[in-house]
Symmetry: C2
Subunit: 407 residues, 2 copies
């Protein structure tokens, strides 16, 4: 027996499938008869959509799974309603779990997904249900509390830093012309972890970005314009990283600043350009400087071809540890990664009460931010550098990385 079920939830990452691999490997090890996977998370499971990973995977396919972006099982953005509001949903879930003789339930996700684990484990305890519920952390945003970092962040950071290095080289190629100002927009509405990764580009072979604007700091348009003008006087290539979530002191997102964004189209709809496009337009119109806006968009969470091996291994391990914990009787907890202090980079895996994790958002601490110079401090570099180390070479077919898809 020891049947288990695993689901993926929320925005995918480059390594969310590695956590499925970790769950699968551990479930095989503890002797699970069935290793179910929810298709499109709990939303799909409620509709009866699931597969048995024992029938789908083998050793070779696990190697492809680790190299496949997005959610192999399919994801969802379903927020479990409160028990008081939807008793029937809870009952339906547990009827299905009982039907399949499922003992352990794993959910790979971020804040909302941990809320699901919290509510289901609370319900199970209160109603004398046998099922154990353990959360597996995942988010490129790196904003879950307690855990040192989240699987998914390291690979996104590696993609961002690599692409920023390539953009800096590209932008510098036309040195004798008038300066080009390149503004790169990076994901992260409230926490600037992803944007911070632009700081990792700097090194012996790269001059680094000229400024990094994080949502943790209030955005001041005048300061921004003055900084760009000064930079453009001093150098031929200016590259700036901004978070999509930067906002002014009155709480306005930057993409709402440009006058042209206040227009409505023929249908009365308001068009919102991104923050980088808005700022590039403002700078170009005020200074005449050549500007370019780049948005990494979903590429930053899907570029598994450039995933960090450290991240892949940690994503496997959190999945593995979740199964081992449930098998020891743990429920209502999330696997967390704790970094050993004052040593070479080393992560110890532990568990933490889900009530202290769900719905709490971790921002970048102030000791990592150099607000005056719009850079990250050495504390951030020390924190983030180990997370992007190592590579897992893709398996190429016809010149392209091979993926594993559900049939």
């Amino acid at each position: 027996m020891k049947n288990i079920i695993v689901g993926q939830s929320g925005g995918p990452t480059a390594v969310i499938n590695s956590s499925v691999a970790g769950v699968y490997l551990a479930a095989k090890e503890i002797g699970s008869d069935h290793i179910y996977g929810m298709v499109h998370g709990i939303e799909g499971f409620l509709k009866g959509e699931f597969i048995d990973l024992k029938e789908e995977l083998d050793d070779e396919k696990v190697e492809l799974l680790k190299r496949t972006p997005s959610a192999y099982l399919g994801s969802c953005r379903y927020k479990l309603p409160k028990f008081e509001e939807a008793k029937d949903v809870y009952e339906k879930i547990f009827v299905k779990l009982d039907e399949l003789d499922i003992e352990y339930f794993f959910y790979i996700g971020g804040n909302d997904s941990m809320d699901t684990i919290k509510m289901l484990s609370d319900y199970a305890k209160e109603n004398g249900k046998k099922q154990k519920f353990v959360g597996i952390p995942k988010t490129i945003d790196n904003d879950l509390p307690i855990t040192d970092h989240c699987p998914g962040y390291g690979s996104a950071a590696k993609y961002i830093a690599t692409s920023i290095k390539e953009i800096i080289r590209d932008n510098a190629s036309f040195g004798v012309e008038k300066p080009t100002v390149c503004i790169v927009e990076i994901m992260g509405r409230h926490a600037g972890w992803l944007t911070a990764a632009a700081a990792l580009a700097k090194g012996d072979d790269c001059e680094g970005v000229d400024a990094i604007y994080l949502p943790e700091d209030t955005f001041d348009l005048e300061e921004f314009k003055n900084r760009i003008k000064k930079l453009a006087e001093e150098k031929n290539s200016v590259v700036i990283a901004i978070s999509e979530g930067i906002a002014t002191s009155d709480g306005k997102f930057v993409c709402e600043l440009g006058d042209s964004n206040k227009s409505v189209d023929a249908f009365g709809h308001k068009q919102l350009s991104g923050a980088a496009v808005t700022l590039a337009d403002i700078i170009h119109n005020e200074t005449g400087l050549k500007t370019r806006a780049i948005e990494f968009s979903t590429l930053q969470r899907a570029a598994t071809h450039l995933a960090s091996l450290t991240d892949i291994e940690e994503a496997i391990k959190v999945g593995y540890e979740a199964v081992m914990a449930a098998n020891r009787g743990v429920t209502g907890e999330m696997v967390v990664m704790l970094r050993e202090e004052n040593k070479e980079y080393k992560i110890n895996y532990s568990l933490y009460d889900i009530h202290d994790i769900a719905n709490i958002e971790k921002k970048i601490p102030s000791n990592m931010i150099d607000s005056e110079n719009k850079q990250l401090t050495e504390d951030y570099i020390k924190y983030a550098k180990p997370l992007i180390m190592g590579e897992l070479t893709p398996i190429y077919t016809n010149g392209l990385p091979t993926h594993l898809i559900r049939k």
Copy 2:
């Protein structure tokens, strides 16, 4: 003696530095005393900016050079004026070439750069100058005539196809929600070669893009809207590739279509969003469908971390062959790559009169385009597949690909 000089011109590619490597290796082989590199092309050279690659490079650095994006020597967008208009510019160039005892002059670039080779070689012949001028093809746009393809195209195509595969997986992750329409904008104002590369994503592990809109075909907004609506009824994830250069029958670029783009900002400037953003807005506003616009921007020409090994090797070879040709007395020609018919993929290197190449733009031939289904035909796949084969693994430092930069 046999001093040579090489310059890089126009938009960089992932492998333009490999052609510098090819020139360097060949020049060493023929015994050049000096292997000069123009800093920022002929524009920088006119200001006296050059380096000696014999002092800058060694075997180890050549390996890094092959893995470095953008123009190592620096590029320019300087268009050489006609002789009648600027006799002094020509005289200045040849005074400098004579001062440095330069015998062979190589320029790596696209159409405009081949125009420079044409005018300088014509001038040299007419004025009894000893210097030989040979063009080295380079452009991600793949729009130079005569040559089977251009170095730079294969790597851009590999990046585009890989990223499209990752985007397709990502977009499909939320299957049970209402469909998401993702519109990906790819470079290419007049020729659709880069956008066509989206077709390479399709395979056993990828369903491929749902439609490809090329500038070779007239864009019909009604047809586009109807196609998307139909696709959104049939499937949960829709991914469309469009060229930045698609235009309607009255010659309007798509980015000029949206009403919101006709607005002006506080300074009276018109803001132009990209084609993908414009179409994503139109579709969202008319249908309520969730849409997403992605632009690869300069990443598609700078992603050397994912360069095609075939492309790198060919870029080296065209540089190498240019030097060997000049050493045989050739001038006023460009190196071209000719594909052997009816055999395994094999390229023969040859030379072609620069007068038949400069300023001519090669579009996708009609046998490669399936206009009705908005796809590429098997003829295109056969043509393009060999160009993306193979990889050259980056040399990683601190988790990031290492580049070579001028000190």
